[in-house]
């Protein structure tokens, strides 16, 4: 399931981020370890945020636009590809990229892998977890829209099937020449479930635009997918050597101890300072 964000309709009321906090029971506490940045940004308690962007048009005029930031829910997520414990995975029913805390080992490979720099870590917790938007997978399974979408008062967020929303997005762009002819998320890194349309250039709004159309995991899949087999084969190889060595030497007579070893053992016993 996908969400289409029409940036031209956002008024920056932040209903979406409050809805996210309510539904996911996220606290508002300001933690000491967290630097207060100028611009609002995601953190482990904030899974979606509205960023205010100022765009200078070529005509010299300035425009204010609000951009919603959250996990893009890639069709081929790099985080899930980097996660060796399968804590991050694509939910087969909703296509949301979900996080299963019970499986996470806390390695934070996902944070390095994410091209959109979305996952955050609970630095203040003794047993920290990774956090990010789950696309309200539990709501989607009940047939509801994600919390943020259901709370949007201006219709800037639309929920639906990805193909249906792509058709809709292109229809809007076609009908209204003010929009940039680009649906962000349609092709970026193989496509994402969150799609954006805008009347201002995406790069001006803080979007990364130098992405290829194929998912990053394409490059790594060829050899990373062989890692489990290689690991197993290496183990088998070592076991085989060990077994061969054991077979070859099991009938060797025990070596008599050297005089040096004898004196040292005797000395240790004498002092009563035994070692394992």
């Amino acid at each position: 399931m996908a969400v289409l964000v029409d940036i031209t309709k956002c008024i920056g009321c932040e209903s979406c981020s409050v809805a996210c906090k309510l539904w996911n029971k996220l606290p508002y506490g300001k933690k000491k370890s967290r630097k207060q940045k100028e611009e609002k940004d995601l953190d482990d308690d904030t899974w979606t945020v509205i960023q205010r962007k100022r765009v200078e048009a070529p005509s010299g005029k300035g425009y204010t636009r609000f951009v919603k930031k959250q996990c893009m829910h890639c069709l081929e997520p790099s985080c899930a590809s980097a996660c060796f414990s399968k804590a991050l995975r694509v939910d087969p029913e909703t296509h949301a990229v979900v996080y299963i805390p019970e499986l996470c080992v806390g390695c934070r490979y996902c944070m390095l892998a994410c091209p959109f720099e979305i996952p955050r870590y609970q630095w203040d917790e003794p047993l920290p977890l990774v956090t990010k938007c789950q696309l309200c997978a539990s709501r989607l399974k009940d047939g509801d829209a994600p919390a943020c979408v259901s709370a949007c008062p201006t219709g800037a967020l639309t929920f639906g099937g990805r193909d249906e929303l792509l058709t809709k997005a292109h229809a809007i762009i076609e009908k209204d020449h003010r929009y940039i002819n680009h649906v962000y998320g349609e092709k970026e890194l193989g496509g994402t479930e969150w799609l954006y349309i805008s009347d201002q250039p995406f790069e001006e709004l803080g979007f990364k635009t130098d992405f290829e159309d194929i998912p990053p995991s394409t490059y790594t899949h060829a050899y990373l997918s062989k890692v489990p087999f290689l690991a197993a084969a290496w183990g088998l190889f070592l076991a085989a050597i060990s077994w061969r060595y054991y077979k070859k030497h099991k009938n060797d007579p025990p070596k008599p101890p050297t005089p040096e070893e004898e004196t040292r053992e005797a000395g240790n016993h004498g002092e009563g300072d035994g070692m394992i």
């Binding site: 008024i11 932040e14 309510l22 048009a57 425009y63 996080y99 299963i100 539990s138 709370a151």
Partner: protein, 521 residues
């Protein structure tokens, strides 16, 4: 002492620990996995099929720089009441075009603070600054109280809506340590002197700027500057009563008392959050001094009194300080919708005829009451029939303003606009002791104001003795050069902050001029 353990014991221990660990892991995998994606609480309209169309959804946008109101996200439950107030009562949310230009529109009226059930939206506080000024011995701190606060402050202390507490309020402010307590009703009389004279000039000589719009409501002024800048020429150039008082204190009063205006701090107690934005206007000041330094809402004053442990109910009534403390009935009814129109016409009648207004203009029922748009006629000899409209709630104001834009302006000569329903008594800074949409509470407050008017010895502004002295000693005549300097202001077209011809015109049509573009939902 360490014990030597055998190789066999060590291996036993290691394997036992591993088996235990494996067991824990296995039990973890076998436990039931809950659905990912949250299970919190949201209000009814977002439950069930959360994408159903709903009337009350989300909330209004509040800029972090908003001078009037703030919101605490932690308390927001997304009930949607602020949208209800902002869209249906005030006509702002949903009336500014998208995509945005520079900012989301807000007139600062604060009706959302009245409707917000959790207190998430509140006024931008100024209590700390006022306390600091009171503690600073080098400052002479002057306070003024708006008419509407006199009939509502008691509610914060458990008194019935409509209890008249003007005397107690003065005593309470003295107890807080203010150096002088003045009455905004007095400067409301000053406003009437200027505004009625100005309206008379427009009615008799400058008929092209009719209808005449009142300009005492800062929410309305901001509304006009944002959405109807083409009609700004109709606005009275008079400052609001609060600003007139501030300007007079920092000029006439300072001169009279031998005070340095730089050391005077003016505080106003207002039923209004928009006044906080008004106080920051560059146009409201002189010689580098702002007319009003700090604005406290009625709610904030109650908070300050409670903080200082002042037992409000047991206070004896006290009188306002001279020389800016006398008020007439005309100044007192400023707090109710229709009050400014009624007070203006009383003095207008006198200025035009030099005779006292007839009894029907002293009990002008047609302009009173909570109807959102009221129309009435007053016949003034020498001027003719003056058609008056009284508007409260800017959502209704849009109908009148759109009619004027459509060329029906000649229907009225004088229009009073108040942003909040019921006028200032229903303002966004008033006590929240009753449900926000309760008309009963507004009616009781209004009734109290008219009771004050009826009980007044003088009922028209020009009869105020202190006003007469003030004009004799300082301003000369209404609309004199000095009066223009201190008591009149100018307005600034703010529409370019929300309207933009290039990005907001209809799809595939050439851009239109921003001013002729109707605001769309």
């Amino acid at each position: 002492m360490t014990r030597k353990i055998s190789r066999r014991d060590f291996l036993k221990l290691a394997s036992g620990t591993s088996l235990f660990g494996l067991g824990v892991l296995a039990s973890g995998c076998a436990s039931e996995q809950k659905d990912e994606g949250g299970d919190g609480w949201m209000p009814d309209q977002y439950q069930g099929r959360g994408d159903f169309p709903a009337h009350l959804k989300g909330r209004v946008a509040i800029s972090p720089k908003n001078p009037s109101i703030m919101r605490d996200d932690e308390k927001c439950i997304l009930c949607g009441q602020c949208i209800e107030a902002c869209h249906n009562v005030i006509g702002v949310h949903g009336y500014y075009p998208l995509p945005l230009k520079d900012e989301t529109a807000c007139i600062g009226c604060g009706q959302c603070t009245m409707w917000c059930p959790t207190g998430a939206i509140h006024e931008r506080p100024a209590v700390d600054q006022v306390e600091a000024a009171l503690d600073d011995d080098s400052k002479f701190v002057v306070v003024q109280t708006a008419p509407a606060t006199k009939v509502s402050l008691g509610e914060e202390f458990g008194m019935a809506p409509g209890s008249i507490v003007s005397g107690k309020q003065v005593a309470a402010l003295r107890a807080l340590g203010f150096d002088a307590v003045f009455d905004t009703c007095m400067s409301a009389d000053m406003t009437i002197m200027e505004e009625a004279s100005e309206a008379l000039v427009r009615l008799t000589q400058k008929k092209d700027v009719l209808p005449h719009f009142t300009s005492c409501c800062p929410g309305w002024v901001r509304f006009c500057e944002l959405f109807y800048p083409d009609l700004m020429k109709h606005l009275s150039t008079c400052k609001s009563p609060a600003a007139m008082m501030g300007a007079t204190v920092k000029s006439y009063y300072a001169e009279k008392k031998g005070l340095d205006p730089k050391n005077i701090v003016t505080v106003s107690i207002m039923p209004c959050t928009a006044k906080k934005g008004e106080a920051l206007r560059k146009e409201l000041g002189h010689d580098g001094l702002q007319d009003v330094d700090y604005v406290l809402t009625t709610r904030e004053l109650a908070l300050l009194l409670k903080k200082k442990g002042i037992d409000f109910e047991s206070l004896d009534n006290a009188d306002y300080d001279s020389i800016l403390g006398e008020s007439t009935g005309a100044g007192r009814i400023f707090g109710a919708t229709g009050g400014v129109a009624e007070a203006s016409v009383r003095s207008l009648y006198y200025f035009a005829t030099h005779q006292a207004p007839p009894a029907n203009l002293l009990e002008w029922k047609a302009v009173r009451g909570l109807t959102s748009v009221k129309e009435a006629q007053a016949s003034v000899p020498g001027v003719g029939t003056v058609s008056v409209a009284v508007v409260n709630g800017m959502a209704s104001g849009r109908k009148v303003l759109d009619a004027i834009r459509a060329g029906q302006g000649s229907r009225w000569q004088f229009i009073e606009f108040m942003a909040c329903p019921g006028g200032c008594i229903g303002g966004g800074g008033q006590p929240k002791s009753q449900f926000a949409s309760s008309e009963d509470m507004r009616q009781r407050r209004i009734a109290a104001l008219y009771q004050e008017d009826r009980g007044a010895k003088k009922r028209a502004s020009h009869e105020n003795a202190e006003i007469q002295t003030l004009y004799k000693e300082f301003y000369g005549q209404p609309l004199s050069e000095r009066a223009e300097k201190y008591l009149h202001t100018s307005f600034v077209d703010q529409s370019e902050k929300i309207f933009d011809a290039e990005t907001q015109h209809a799809p595939n049509t050439p851009p239109k001029a921003p001013k002729s573009q109707p605001a769309k939902d």
